[in-house]
C-alpha cells in the first residue's frame, strides 16, 4: 500500500517536472512576433497546402476502408438518420437520377439506389478510358462494397474514381462548399458538385442501374465529364 502510494507520488513528480521542463523549453523560444517572421518559401508553402489536400483525400479513403472492413452498415443507417434529424433542412426529393432517389439536405446530398441483381456484374471492373495528360494509377482499394482507384500526376494532383456494382446502397456526399446541379453522362442522369470554396475540387456522381460511379478531382467540370463519359469495363488480360 505504502509502496503503491510512493509510486503514485513519483508519477506525479515526474509529470510536474516534465511539464516544467516543457514550459522552460517554450520560454527559450523567441516571442510569437519573431516566430511569425520565419520564412517558409513559396514553393514549400504550396507543397504543404497540396499535402493538406492529399491528406484529406487519403483520410477519406482510409475511413471508407475502415467502415467496410468493420461491416457497420446497420450502424451507419442509424447514424445517417440521426444526423439527418439534427440538421435544419428543406428536403427536395428529386427523381432527377433515374435509378436512384436523391434528397438534398443542408449539408449533404443523400442518394439511395439499388443495382440490378445480375450475377454477371459481379466480375465487372471499371476504369477510365480517358485521363488528362500526366496522370498515372497510384493506388486501388477494393472492398466487398466498392472499389476506389486513385490516379496522380507529378504535381501531386489526384483523381479519385469510385464505383460500386452490388445491391442496394445509400450514399451521403458532403455538399458544403459545392453547388449541386443535374448533369448527363452518356444519357444517364447524374449530379455535378461544383466546388465554390476556392480549392477547385469538383465531383460527379451517376448511376446506370447496373453500376454507380463517383469521380472527384481538382479539374474543370467539363474535363470531369469527359473522364466520366469514357469509363469502360476493364478488359481481362
Amino acid at each position: 500500500m505504502a509502496s503503491q502510494m510512493q509510486e503514485e507520488l513519483f508519477e506525479a513528480m515526474l509529470k510536474a517536472a516534465a511539464m516544467e521542463v516543457s514550459l522552460k523549453e517554450l520560454e527559450s523560444y523567441p516571442p510569437e512576433e519573431v516566430i511569425q517572421q520565419t520564412i517558409i518559401s513559396k514553393a514549400c508553402d504550396q507543397k504543404a497546402r497540396k499535402l493538406m489536400k492529399r491528406y484529406n483525400a487519403r483520410d477519406r479513403i482510409r475511413s471508407l476502408g475502415r467502415i467496410s472492413r468493420k461491416a457497420v452498415a446497420a450502424a451507419v443507417i442509424a447514424v445517417s438518420i440521426a444526423i439527418g434529424g439534427l440538421y435544419v433542412y428543406s428536403p427536395e426529393v428529386r427523381a432527377a437520377v433515374r435509378y436512384a432517389i436523391t434528397t438534398i439536405y443542408e449539408y449533404f446530398v443523400e442518394i439511395r439506389g439499388k443495382h440490378t441483381d445480375d450475377k454477371s456484374d459481379e466480375e465487372k471492373q471499371y476504369e477510365p478510358g480517358y485521363l488528362p495528360d500526366g496522370y498515372k494509377k497510384d493506388s486501388e482499394i477494393q472492398s466487398p462494397l466498392f472499389t476506389i482507384i486513385k490516379y496522380e500526376n507529378d504535381s501531386g494532383d489526384q483523381i479519385e474514381f469510385m464505383f460500386m456494382t452490388k445491391g442496394a446502397y445509400t450514399m451521403q456526399i458532403d455538399n458544403k462548399g459545392y453547388e449541386v446541379s443535374d448533369c448527363s453522362i452518356n444519357s444517364y442522369e447524374g449530379l455535378l458538385f461544383t466546388g465554390n470554396d476556392g480549392t477547385g475540387t469538383n465531383q460527379i456522381f451517376w448511376t446506370t442501374g447496373e453500376a454507380s460511379f463517383c469521380i472527384r478531382a481538382s479539374l474543370e467540370a467539363e474535363e470531369l465529364k469527359k473522364i466520366a463519359e469514357n469509363i469502360h469495363i476493364q478488359m481481362e488480360c
Partner: protein
Amino acid sequence: MLILVFDTQEDKDQFITLYEKYGKYVMYTVNRYIKDEYMAEDLFQETLIILADHIRDIDFSNDIKVRNYVITITKNYCLNYLDKQRRSKETLAEDMEQLNHMADAPLDWVLQKEAHQKLCEAIEKLDTKYRTAFELKYVNDLDDDSIAKILGISRKNAQMRVYRAKLKLREVIMEAQHG
C-alpha cells in the same frame, strides 16, 4: 448494403489550423538543427505529415500543449535525421536486469523542492530519444501505441524508452534522497 461517404470538415479545419498557427514553429525548430535549406524544407514537409497523421492526438484547446507537442515532434525528427547520419544503434535488452532491480528497490523519499529541481535538470540531460518518448507520455498524455507510431518505432521500443527515462530519473531521486 450501405455506404457512407462523409467528409469531415473538422479534420480539414484542424490541419489548416495546425499549419497556419504552428507551421512556423515547425520551420523555426527545423532551422535550429538543420542548416541546409533544401534538407530543412524536406524535413519540414515530413514533419507536417507526421503531425497530420496524428492530428486526432492533438488537443487544440491548449495552445501551450500544442506548441510543445509540435516542437517535441519536430526536434525528435531532426535529431533522428542527424543521428542516422552518425548511424547510432539502439539495443533493447541491456538494461533489463537493472530495470527489474530498480523497480523492486524501495523508494522512500521526501518531497523536496531540491528533488524536483534535480528531476528537471535530469530530464533536460536525458538522451533525446528517451526524453521525447518521456515527454510525449507525461506532457502530451499519449499512450504507448501512439508514441510508437509517432516515433516510427515498435510499441515495445516505445515502452523501453519511457522506462529507461524513468530509470534514470529514479536514480536521480535516490541520489537526492541519500545525498
